[in-house]
Structure formats: structure tokens, C-alpha cells
């Protein structure tokens, strides 16, 4: 990557009297208190149904699994940070993927977006938006599409509001200059958990006994979407030529867009199985190094568990097909954030070994590991040419599924034992995996 000196561009803009930040703009996150007196998420507390998140949109850097540093645009979580500190923390804070948003059915999400500008490209004046992909009965103002609504300028904030009434697997992404901003990395997972999770202990669900702590993908009414562990797995792909053109202030190759980095949750194998947050090597380019890859894709379960994979794709260009080496089929129980069940109640779920998924598509898949022995298995794309990190073979769209041996004795009133080999305090530098 060629190094450019951003302050030269900035000085140039100043010479022409271009204001980089609107005069009266400010960072302003909104979080009204929940005072409606209703317990809409069913957790027994009428005063906690508002969820407030605050993200910034900016540029930044990310390392591909072959070590290559890539310029990108992205979101960064600043929830809880004082508004006065958001500009400083948000600049160059782009993460890939965007922070995963998890809410529960019945919760009202106040999602504030602050546009903190483009440190590396001060010639850009891009606004940003949030598109909650799949949100039911959407309004135009909170759909985040620039043409029919509004986009937030640099130095300012907008708060989106979503009343979450349909559980399921969604996505979120920026919709401003969408082909560019999505290719540049403004993409993330979004999960809405069903209110069925909050049923009283020992509720009978048509013969299935709910217990406190049980989790489901949907309000199935019969326990058929029960799972022990769930993982959002979002498919991504980058075109390095496009990213480098953006970094070096060149015309963007839209027509020739060709993705050669195929990823799960923003990483190629083997970075996918590294549970640490990855520190980028932006300091090689003279910028502050940031933790820009915080989502791993290592799938861990205990023998006998039901694993829910929340598979979605925000690839800008490609359809992918993925499979596993588990030897048991994947049961597709939901798609498009809806239970696969017809209006007349027929079960439309199906078993398969190959999930085909295009950009903007989402599938909920349950894997029953009862007949799977302990060990390490793989989830990978069957588009085998994408098992690569650009020109580096043996990488790309692949991760591991680690099945631990079941504990010897588990009784009903004992929570299942989880084996975790995750050290969440461990952080390593991107491009130089420890494995």
C-alpha cells in the first residue's frame, strides 16, 4: 500500500476555504427513559425496555488474514461514552464487521449514529445512514436510504428508533452510496431474540416444557427452535483493488469490482478462529493502531448441544454456498427473520448440507450434535476457490466447530457445563496470528 499524507489534503481543502465540519453541528446521542409502565419485553421489569446504543461512522484500517492492511469505512461502538469524547474515540475507529447488535423482542432500540468524518480522506464529505435490513413495516425515515430520507453529515448525530416486534436474524449496514460504503466494510450482524425466552419456568409449550434459561430462535410454540448456543455468522468479501483505490484517492472500480478476500464475520481463516480482538497495523502507515476486528467465528459447543447458526450475507458481489464436516445435516428453521412455517401452520423447515446465500439473505440453521463425537470440525464454503486469502491459499471463508465431550452427569436442575477455552482479555496484533 502506498502511503499518503492526509494533512496535505487537509491543508489543500483549507486553502480553498472548505469547512470540514458544519458550523453548528454537534454529537448528540438520545436515550429517553422507559416510562410507559409496560413490560414489553416480558422480563418482569416495566422500566427497562429501552435499549440505547451509540455508534460512530468513520474510516479506518483492517488486516486481512494474509496480513495485508486494508483501508476501510466502518462503524464503532461508543455506547456510554460522553458525547464530548465521541469524536476523538470514533475517528479511525472503523470496525469490521460492525459491532453486533443484539436486542430482545419487545425492546425499543434507540440507535444513535455519529458521523465523525474520514481522517484519511479529508477530501470526502460522505454522509452516513443505518439500514436495519429486514426490519418489518419499516418507515422511510428510519430505513436509512438516502434518496427517500435523510443522511447524517460529518460532525453530527442522528438517532434511529426501532420497536422490535419480530424476532430473528437481521443485518445492519450503511446505505449511503451503498455500493461503495458496503464494499468498504460498513456491515454487521443484528439479532432479535424472541419473547418466548422469557416464559415462566415450566411453561408447557404443546408438550415441550420450557425452563428458565432456555433459548429459542423464534416464538415457535413447541420448542422446535430450542438451541444451546448461537453464533451469528455473516459472510463478507472484499476487493483489495477497490479498497486501495479508495485509500490512494483514485477513481473507484465499480464495474470491475472483484472480491478476492472471502470472510466470515470480517476475517479469513485462520483469523476466524482467533477469539481475541485483533489490533490492526495502521501504525505502519502512520496512523494509530486500533482494535478493528472484534468478532470471531469459532463455534464451540458440547456434545449433544443444539447449535443455532444465524447465517447472513452482506457480500457486495457474490453468492456463496457453505457446508460443514460434522457429518450431520443442518436444519434450516428460519429465513428472512421468520420461522419457516406457513400461515396454515405447516412446518417448512428442511435439512440440507449446503446453504446457498446471496447478499442480503439470512438463514437460521440448527445443528443437532447428538450424533457428533468430540473434536474439531470445519464450516467452509464449497465455492472452493474462495478458500483463500487473496493469492494465499488455505484460508478464506472457513472456520472451526469445536465439539467438547459431554460432562459425565448432567441432571435437569443443573446448568449444562460449558467448556470455554476463550481468554477474552487476550488481544493480539492483526496479521500476525498466534496460531
Amino acid at each position: 500500500m502506498k502511503r499518503i499524507r492526509p494533512y496535505h489534503l487537509l491543508s489543500l481543502l483549507m486553502c480553498f476555504g472548505v469547512a470540514v465540519v458544519p458550523v453548528s453541528a454537534d454529537i448528540f446521542s438520545q436515550c429517553p427513559p422507559d416510562t410507559d409502565g409496560m413490560d414489553t419485553d416480558g422480563d418482569g421489569d416495566a422500566g427497562n425496555d429501552h435499549v440505547c446504543l451509540h455508534v460512530t461512522a468513520s474510516d479506518g484500517f483492517v488486516n486481512m488474514a494474509d496480513g495485508r492492511l486494508m483501508y476501510m469505512f466502518g462503524f464503532h461502538d461508543v455506547t456510554g461514552l460522553p458525547d464530548a469524547d465521541v469524536m476523538a474515540d470514533g475517528m479511525l475507529g472503523a470496525e469490521f464487521p460492525a459491532p453486533t447488535i443484539e436486542v430482545s423482542e419487545g425492546q425499543k432500540l434507540y440507535l444513535s449514529l455519529s458521523n465523525v468524518g474520514m481522517m484519511v480522506r479529508p477530501d470526502l464529505f460522505d454522509a452516513h445512514t443505518i439500514h436495519y435490513h429486514g426490519f418489518p413495516e419499516a418507515s422511510a425515515i428510519f430505513d436509512g436510504v438516502p434518496g427517500p430520507s435523510v443522511s447524517i453529515n460529518m460532525g453530527s448525530s442522528i438517532t434511529y428508533f426501532y420497536n422490535n416486534v419480530e424476532p430473528g436474524t437481521y443485518m445492519w449496514h450503511c446505505h449511503f452510496e451503498v455500493t461503495e460504503h458496503m464494499q468498504m466494510g460498513m456491515l454487521g450482524n443484528l439479532v432479535v431474540r424472541p419473547i418466548q425466552n422469557n416464559l415462566p419456568n415450566l411453561t408447557d409449550l404443546n408438550g415441550f416444557t420450557h425452563q428458565t434459561g432456555y433459548t429459542y430462535a423464534y416464538n415457535d410454540g413447541d420448542g422446535s427452535t430450542y438451541y444451546d448456543v448461537d453464533y451469528p455468522i455473516q459472510l463478507h468479501s472484499f476487493d483489495p483493488v477497490f479498497h486501495d483505490a479508495s485509500f490512494t484517492v483514485q477513481p473507484l472500480p465499480f464495474a470491475n469490482m472483484k472480491d478476492t478476500y472471502s470472510m466470515l464475520n470480517g476475517r479469513g481463516y485462520p483469523d476466524t478462529v482467533n477469539t481475541a480482538e485483533l489490533l490492526n497495523t495502521a501504525d505502519d502507515e502512520g496512523y494509530e493502531a486500533r482494535y478493528s476486528q472484534k468478532v470471531h467465528s469459532l463455534i464451540e459447543a458440547t456434545e449433544g448441544d443444539k447449535i443455532l447458526l444465524r447465517v447472513s450475507s452482506l457480500s457486495t458481489t457474490l453468492f456463496y454456498t457453505v457446508t460443514t464436516t460434522l457429518g450431520v445435516p443442518m436444519k434450516v428453521i428460519g429465513r428472512g427473520a421468520r420461522l419457516l412455517r406457513s400461515a396454515s401452520g405447516q412446518d417448512l423447515s428442511f435439512e440440507t448440507n449446503a446453504l446457498n446465500i446471496g447478499g442480503g439473505e439470512g438463514l437460521d440453521v440448527i445443528i443437532d450434535t447428538t450424533d457428533v463425537g468430540p473434536g474439531t470440525y470445519f464450516l467452509y464454503t464449497t465455492n472452493l476457490n474462495y478458500l483463500s486469502n487473496d493469492t494465499e491459499d488455505f484460508g478464506g471463508m472457513m472456520t472451526e466447530i469445536v465439539i467438547a465431550a459431554a460432562p459425565l452427569a448432567v441432571t435437569d436442575d443443573q446448568p449444562p457445563v460449558r467448556l470455554r477455552r476463550v481468554d477474552t482479555t487476550k488481544r493480539i496484533r492483526g496479521g500476525k496470528p498466534l496460531r
Binding site: S24, A140, S151, I152, N153, S156, E177, T317
Partner: protein, 424 residues
């Protein structure tokens, strides 16, 4: 400065705009096409305009002596009709037509080809006649059955709609109420590799290699965005008569007829709400013992496969948003299909000041349906009724460009119009 939103004070503006718009010529028909059961299609050449204004040499089917069309005329026939399609060929190589999904197609005249009878390159002297009985209602397409890798790329493709016997007593797509609709729109999805068309224009036939397929234009009904949203039969697009601008009122059912008319898969994403997929390949999603579309499913993105057709129903009322989408005060009268529990609920957030926002041309200045608000000079204006606009587009985002220019391609706009807005 930040402004709190008020529900009042914009009705007059909207009423004036609506009144003005009533006098505007509205050529946004539902699905345009040829009706009847006897058609003459002439394979001709001509030019289509890309969304970036580039002229693209194209082959297409014309309505008999009419101009070359991309896509070919949409043939709208009734279930049970004996359909006759006569083909004449004005192109430099033999052409034929195949009708995927139609049973018992017969072909007479012309010269025997690989798939069916062909019309030789004889400047329209020979007529090939194809006949079939339109036995099952639904969404179909037709395309060239000769040298298909080149000829379909060049533009020889069109849609067929078979009306059920129940139609028009009931406005249904199939013979069941599950397929009832208030508005129907066609989405014939195709793409073009410009290099192929350029070489064809120059007659460099032996240099054309369709295996290096690299499309740079993506079409809905033969147009790129933003041309998809123009009126049908716009005079400056003489070879692209069909548009794609779906419009509906809250509470209505909108039928999407999606056809994969090209070579690629497209993840088609209609913003605004999930759609219910009720039929594929002109068959209701119906179980062996079921009635109606009892296997229909809901999704937020529809995979369109090459050669496949998908029928889906889209509905929208703005229910359960947690705020009154019309901006009512609690005592105001209800709108039709309004979600009563949200009636009069205030807008949940404070919107940024005008100088902090970039405005879209489709924004009315108000977050409320059927309302308008203050906008800076020169902003807005593309949404006269204060409707909600949603892009309906390929979510392979590289397909919503026109060659190297963003934005364009396989994209149209749905407008959910407030009640009272005329929609043809």
C-alpha cells in the same frame, strides 16, 4: 438548531401538491404488454440507452412492424387460450423462440434448428409459427432458442403472463384467493456485457466470447435506474417501453412477478417489509393435499435464479412502529388500515437540524406518511404526495451501478402513497 416535529401545519401544502399532481399525465400503468392470443414478433436490432446515457446495440423482439423492444413485448394471455406466436427474423443469423414452462408447444414453418423451428436470416420473408395452450396461469418468460448464449445476451427475451380463469372477476394471479392483489408489477431481471454488444455492433462476430461474461449493466424490464422510475413509453427511450415504479396504499396487496431473464442469480431485496413468496415457476406453493398457497413463506430477500419466475405478495401498513406513522394527535380520525394502538403516539426521537442533514430527493421534509415539512431550497420534490419511498433492488450491490457509475442498474422504487392518492 434542533427542531421538534409537529404533526400539524403541513396538510395544506400536501393538499395543494396532491391537487396539482392530479392534473399531471400519469402513464404509470400496471403491467404493460400485448393482450389477446395471437401475436407476431419480429426479431430486429436497434439501440437501448443505459442509465448513464450510453447507446447499446441490442437485438430484441418487436411487436410485428413496431420498433425493436428490450425486453420483447409482454404477452398477456388467458388461461386455456390457444396462443399463436408468429416469428419473423430481420437479424443476421437464424432466430427461434422457446417458451419455458409451456406444455405441448408446436412449431411450424422455417428451418429445423437444434431446439425448435428457426426463422432464417431472410429479412422477415419466412414466418415460423409457435402454438401452445396456456394451460396453467402464472408468470413465464420466452427467449431465443437459437445461439442462446449470444442472442439472449443481445436482448431476445420477454415475459408472459397467463391470467387465471378467475380473472378478471377476481383480481388473482392464480385460481385462489391467496394470490389476490390490488396492484401487480413485473420485474424482469437481466444484465448485459457491454463488450459483447460493442463487438456485435462492429460485426466482429468471431471475436465475441460469451464465456468471459462481464456484465456492467443490470436491468429491470429493460431499463436501468433511474430510467426504471420514468413513465412507460417515454419518447426518449423508444426501444425500452416498460418502466418499473410500484406504488400502493397502506393495507393493499402488491404482487411482484419476478423473472430471472439473464444468466446470473440476483438477491432481490424489496425494502419496507418482508414479502410472502406464493408461487415459483408459475405454480402456487401448494402442498399435495392443500388448497391455495399453503406452503408460502416470508422472506426479506428473494433469490432470483436464471430462468426461474417467482410471485410474491408485499403488504405494508406501518403497524407496530411504536409511533403514529401519520403524525396524528390522539384525537385525530384514523386512517384506513392504521394500526390503532400506535394512534397519536409521538415521534420517538428528535431529528437533527437541517444543516446537519443531507436530504434525498424523495424526502418530503416530514417523517410522516402523507405529510410534508420544510426543506432547504432545492431539496426534495420527487415525492409529491408525501409517500414513503423504498428502493427495491439487487442486494448484489455491484449490480446497482450503470457501468462504472453509481447509482443505477437493477433498482426501482416502491412508493407507499397515502390514501386518496390516485394509482392507476
Amino acid at each position: 438548531m434542533r427542531t421538534h416535529l409537529h404533526s400539524k401545519g403541513t396538510q395544506f401544502t400536501v393538499a395543494v401538491m396532491a391537487a396539482l399532481a392530479l392534473f399531471a399525465t400519469d402513464a404509470y400503468a400496471v403491467i404493460d404488454g400485448l393482450t389477446g392470443s395471437t401475436f407476431t414478433l419480429s426479431a430486429k436490432d436497434g439501440y437501448v440507452l443505459g442509465g448513464d446515457g450510453l447507446s447499446i446495440y441490442t437485438w430484441g423482439f418487436a411487436d410485428d412492424t413496431g420498433p425493436m423492444q428490450y425486453p420483447g413485448p409482454t404477452l398477456i394471455v388467458n388461461q386455456g387460450a390457444l396462443v399463436t406466436v408468429s416469428l419473423k427474423n430481420y437479424l443476421p443469423e437464424p432466430v427461434s423462440i422457446v417458451f419455458p414452462g409451456q406444455e405441448g408447444v408446436t412449431a411450424t414453418g422455417g428451418v429445423a434448428g437444434q431446439l425448435t423451428q428457426e426463422a432464417p436470416a431472410d429479412n422477415g420473408a419466412t414466418t415460423v409459427e409457435y402454438q401452445f395452450q396456456a394451460s396453467e396461469p402464472g408468470t413465464y418468460h420466452y427467449h431465443s432458442g437459437t445461439h442462446m448464449d449470444l442472442q439472449v445476451e443481445m436482448g431476445l427475451v420477454g415475459a408472459i403472463i397467463v391470467r387465471p380463469t378467475e380473472f378478471p372477476i377476481d383480481q388473482w394471479a392464480y385460481n385462489h384467493t391467496d394470490s389476490a392483489y390490488d396492484h401487480e408489477y413485473l420485474f424482469l431481471l437481466t444484465e448485459m456485457d457491454y463488450d459483447v454488444h460493442l463487438m456485435a455492433e462492429f460485426g466482429l462476430w468471431d471475436q465475441i466470447d460469451t464465456t468471459t461474461f462481464h456484465p456492467v449493466y443490470w436491468f429491470i424490464n429493460g431499463r436501468n435506474f433511474p430510467d426504471t422510475t420514468l413513465a412507460a413509453d417515454t419518447p426518449w427511450l423508444p426501444n425500452q417501453p416498460y418502466n418499473c415504479l410500484p406504488r400502493m396504499h397502506p393495507g393493499e396487496r402488491l404482487l411482484l412477478r419476478i423473472i430471472g431473464g439473464g444468466r446470473d442469480l440476483h438477491p432481490f431485496h424489496p425494502h419496507g417489509n418482508n414479502t410472502t413468496v406464493i408461487a415459483k415457476d408459475a405454480r402456487l406453493l401448494q402442498s399435495p393435499l392443500g388448497t391455495g398457497a399453503d406452503l408460502a413463506y416470508s422472506d426479506y430477500t428473494i433469490t432470483s435464479l436464471p430462468g426461474q419466475t417467482v410471485d410474491a405478495i408485499f403488504e405494508w401498513t406501518g403497524a407496530q412502529l411504536g409511533w403514529d406513522v401519520y403524525g396524528h394527535a390522539p384525537g385525530d380520525p384514523m386512517e384506513p388500515f392504521e394500526y390503532a394502538p400506535d394512534h397519536g403516539k409521538p415521534f420517538p426521537v428528535i431529528l437533527p437540524g437541517q444543516q446537519e442533514l443531507t436530504f434525498g430527493g424523495g424526502y418530503s421534509g416530514s417523517p410522516f406518511l402523507g405529510a410534508a415539512g420544510d426543506l432547504p431550497p432545492g431539496e426534495g420534490g420527487l415525492n409529491v404526495y408525501g409517500g414513503f419511498m423504498y428502493p427495491w433492488h439487487s442486494h448484489a450491490e455491484n449490480e446497482i451501478i450503470n457501468n462504472d457509475i453509481f447509482i443505477g442498474g437493477m433498482l426501482s422504487l416502491l412508493i407507499i402513497e397515502p390514501h386518496g392518492t390516485p394509482i392507476p
